[in-house]
Subunit: 203 residues, 2 copies
């Protein structure tokens, strides 16, 4: 079917665009750069897409949608707060490691969106952060997590899991599961309710 071919070619275009946007940034990547990478002329791109910004929108909102889905799942299905947080972290790590280029665009290039898409995107981001905050609140209510400033803690957690994108290489020695495990341990070590028995603890 031709429909399938179109889709494939467009997906290929989006994949290559994400790669270039990650490498050089959105504004520094020209339509001619993108076309050259695909082996076609710049004008030919417009057979598949409407504008340069449409490419950015598609990449950003596709990934935002993936994040929205998994955070909703976690807050629906799992019961225990620690398990919830571990699962959320694992899902987050998975999305980033399986979509390295798109993730970089999602994390850094969304500023180049123009209104009204920009506001729309920021709403989705905020909703995700709120999802994390709900888990923290649960954990504090269950007395599993230490009392912390929710906003501060959620942003710190997100910073940690997002930073993976800066150094993760698909063929590195650490698996997605190991990364998620280590990050969860680190984060939960900082959050979990502790009795005062740490060596060298000074209150």
């Amino acid at each position: 079917m031709s429909e399938l071919l179109t889709t494939n070619r467009k997906e290929q275009l989006l994949e290559v665009a994400a790669k270039l946007f990650k490498q050089r940034g959105y504004a520094a990547t020209s339509m001619r750069d993108l076309a050259a990478e695909l082996g076609i002329e710049a004008a030919s791109l417009y057979h598949h897409i409407k504008s340069k910004e449409e490419i950015l929108e598609t990449i950003c909102f596709d990934l935002a949608s993936k994040f929205s889905i998994v955070i909703a799942e976690v807050n629906d299905i799992y019961f225990n707060a620690e398990e919830k947080l571990r699962t959320a972290i694992k899902n987050h790590v998975q999305i980033i490691t399986q979509n390295t280029n798109q993730s970089a665009v999602f994390l850094h290039e969304w500023r180049n969106l123009s209104e009204p898409k920009l506001s729309e995107f920021m709403k989705l981001r905020d909703a995700y952060e709120k999802g994390i905050r709900v888990i923290l609140k649960d954990g504090m209510n269950e007395d599993v997590f230490d009392d912390v400033d929710e906003k501060f803690a959620s942003l710190t957690i997100l910073s940690t899991v997002n930073w993976i994108n800066e150094w993760y290489k698909p063929n590195g020695k650490m698996s997605t599961e190991e990364i998620a495990q280590n990050l969860s341990d680190f984060i939960l070590g900082g959050l979990r309710k502790k009795m005062v028995t740490d060596i060298n603890y000074k209150p």
Copy 2:
């Protein structure tokens, strides 16, 4: 003295440039944008600077130098590993909160540097990360920190302290000291050697 005036005007130019580079990104900020913000014509900028990229270089390397200085200080002066790490975090937070615009450029826009400045910059970044790694190694040798993958841990710590730049507002309710305190607690909670007495701990 005229020397002084020149310096001031140039510093003002760099400050405004950093502000715009943070807001719109380096590539998306034109020399005409920058000039307009300063109330002059684009061509007049070249009385103060040699090229657009020179502005980016100055901002990036100025901040890199600040980071280099404080990490060297910490590893020279302080003895205890936990104290070292706390001081390093405090210094890092201070640099970021006191130079919000330049920090954003330092963290995100350095990719727009071209060789050989790009490699030079990346070396400075790596040296800083190595400085953090030394502290972690010390802490593990002193049996104060849990055994962790040094590279992984140092990158996680940097991710946490760097993310401040995404949400910090100079007039927010949290002071620099409070932010540093909270981050240190969070990070050290995840690092400090623990006896197995955490509530709900499952090995």
